[in-house]
Amino acid sequence: MNYGIVSQEQLEQIDTILSSKLIKLGVDCVIIIDMAGNIITAKDNGESKYDVYSFAALAAGNFATVDAMAKLVGEAEFSLLFHKGQESNIHFSKIDDELLLISMFGKDISLGFLRLNVVEAIEQIRKVWEASNG
């Protein structure tokens, strides 16, 4: 945990952003994790029953693997990842070098619309983050 300590106030601000930008849109579950697989915060629509801790560990591993592959082909990073299923989809997006935003959503939401909202959410979260972490 080398990004410092998150204040309760910051967490609440981030939760509000996640709720208003993503959960309201119909996203089942949103998680912010660090690259070591720790959960910073998780929000859901009240119905999803994911094991978010295992999910975070796997997601961090997954993202780290793809990051290592990016370096192998000469890319600085692949900042976005998307897994598509029959009923549900997972979208990963980097907030900064330490944080990752993961959205799980069903087939009712279009990927484009989700991405648009993810970008806006990330911008707002960055601001909250920078305000106290310099």
Binding site: N2, D34, A36, I39, D51, S54, A57, L58, G61, T65
Partner: protein, 192 residues
């Protein structure tokens, strides 16, 4: 809430996964989630095993312990390194079998290098060494005396160490308790 990442590290087939499997069985009642294992068809760890559990509160903080293993096979160092990211404490599992002597030393050296890549030091990070498979002595398999293992692996580090048998569970919990307590103490120092 404080999340504590503890990684079991060691050469291939030394018993890292077996340690976690024992913990998962023995403390099933206290563990809410399933153990996650990413392994090959041959049951070798491909990426990591993951076992999270709650420790209750210490000084008002909810403590969540996350146990990980690394893949032990030599060729997987890239993934081993990834698992070490953000590690708070390490259990080095050594294989007490005589023929594994070199591999233990090589693996410990690599741990040292891999930690340096994250600007961590093996001399500063909470570390516990476990000499696993001591039960094999009773089955006529030549194993190294603990004094030799200690001289090989722990003469400079001077960290807490245990003889153990992950398969029977001997000292698995003792190892875990020791690494949790040293890690929590070290995190407390950072937080306060």
């Amino acid at each position: 809430m404080v999340q504590v990442k503890i990684v079991y590290y060691g050469p291939g087939r030394c018993g890292k996964t077996t340690n976690l499997e024992y913990v998962n069985r023995k403390f099933r009642d206290q563990i809410q989630s399933e153990m996650v294992s990413l392994k090959t068809h041959g049951d070798r760890t491909l990426f990591f095993d993951f076992l999270p559990f709650d420790m209750g509160q210490i000084k008002g903080y909810d403590i969540k312990i996350q146990l990980y293993t690394v893949p032990g096979q030599v060729k997987y160092n890239a993934t081993r390194k990834l698992v070490l990211k953000g590690v708070d404490g390490v259990v080095f599992v050594a294989d007490a079998m005589e023929k594994q002597r070199e591999k233990n030393i090589r693996s410990l050296n690599q741990l040292h290098e891999n930690l340096q890549a994250y600007k961590e030091s093996i001399f500063k990070l909470p570390l516990v060494i476990q000499y696993n498979k001591v039960d094999l002595k009773d089955h006529g398999v030549p194993i190294l005396p603990t004094a030799v293992l200690r001289k090989d692996l722990n003469s400079r580090l001077k960290v807490p160490d245990f003889e153990a048998s992950a398969i029977t569970g001997y000292n698995v919990a003792a190892t875990l308790k020791k690494i949790i307590s040293s890690t929590v103490v070290s995190i407390q120092k950072k937080l306060l």
